[in-house]
């Protein structure tokens, strides 16, 4: 079976800024043929691996002059960026922060007391599991949390 993208839409890049290779400028990329990035340009946030979490301004600056990937309603493509934007739209529409909104509308009514976007709940000490070398526990992804 051959794999091909017969379903793709979403006007924006599906990239998650957190995994952009240029987050870590290095000869390594030039040795792979990629051009060097001028100082002060390029991605500088993610929340991963010691970089600062991204803000709304970071995201808007990136997507505002990216060309579309496909025309609308061609199909579907996984898009972290799309969900992040949805989170921002929810904040604008409700006037509440995303994590407050989710706590109020979902976690509390359902009784999910251990669930949160900012650090593990109280039960983590007894029931939590962290793999050796896991790097994502101490930090936040900023607006990429959704």
């Amino acid at each position: 079976m051959l794999c091909h993208p017969n379903n793709t839409d979403k006007q924006f890049y599906a990239i998650l800024v957190a995994t952009d290779m240029a987050l870590f400028p290095d000869d390594y990329w030039q040795n792979l043929g990629l051009p060097a990035i001028a100082d002060g340009t390029g991605p500088n946030c993610s929340g991963f691996l010691g970089t600062r979490p991204c803000t709304e301004e970071d995201l808007m600056a990136v997507i505002s002059d990216r060309p579309p990937l496909y025309r609308p309603y061609r199909g579907a493509s996984y898009s972290n960026v799309g969900i992040i934007l949805l989170g921002l739209v929810l904040e604008r529409a409700t006037g509440k922060k995303f994590d407050d909104l989710v706590k109020e509308k979902i976690f509390k009514p359902v009784g999910m007391e251990q669930s949160s976007f900012y650090g593990p709940g109280k039960s983590f000490k007894e029931n939590g599991f962290a793999a050796i070398g896991e790097s994502t526990l101490n930090g936040t992804f900023g607006i990429q949390e959704p």
Partner: protein, 291 residues
Amino acid sequence: MFTTTSELLDLGSAILSYDLLSGSQTRAWLKPATNTNVMHHQVGAPWEIIRVNNITQDGRIIDLFAKSGDVGMYVAEFVLIPDYGLVVSIIAAGRESVGGVETYAALTQILNTMLPAVETAGRQQVSLQDGYTGLYADKTTNSTLRLGVDHGPGIVVEEMTMRGVDVLANIGAYSLAGYFTANQSSAPPDGGAAVPPYVDARAYPADISAHRGRQVSWRVLFSTISPEVQEELDEQLAWPGFGCQAWLGLDRQSYDYKSLGELVFSLGADRSVEGVESPVFGIALQKAGKM
């Protein structure tokens, strides 16, 4: 309703050409709303969507957006095939046509005859002298790109050398996982890192163009799951096709916000392909000729 096959073909063409509704509206309309208990049947509004996958050599799924109808001993079948821009209209009458099997059998015959031919024609079209396949080069950066076709989907990226580096052979290195593995830093390679020995790179049109169609965007998918690995996965999991995650992985490999797989072709005024640019590598290559 009284009509002719010719006029129904006009209707189908008008729909696919966005003459009545906009492109966005039409593309949103030609979609399933729900599934059924048969994998090959989905329901749209009002489409009877039939999913065939035994027509072309690579077994790709081709969606037929059909609408059937009948009254008395008259039976009709109206089919849109957006993937190929084709329209089929069948109108039948008589005792034998009642029940629809005859019309679907006729449709089957049409598909089995037409679609492989259309597919072959498409491959021939991109392989013309002024088409997409062939060798592209930029001597100043020692970069080459060679495109061809085979029996599979899309256009095959046979060779991709950027600034002297064999991109395909090193495809796994173009990732943060590859970077951290190479640097042996304390940060873990989240999810596999070694250079994969297998890569199948194919380019597909992204349906986006600029400058009155003089620049056309395509996307390359770098598939690193071999047929053998795919078979193992199929045995391990409760459903087949785990290795085909194109919709999930599009544009995951990015550098400075540019996709590793983006190719922008430049066409001349006569629509001939003159060159291609890789925005992520920042290299523009001229079409050198056919191999």
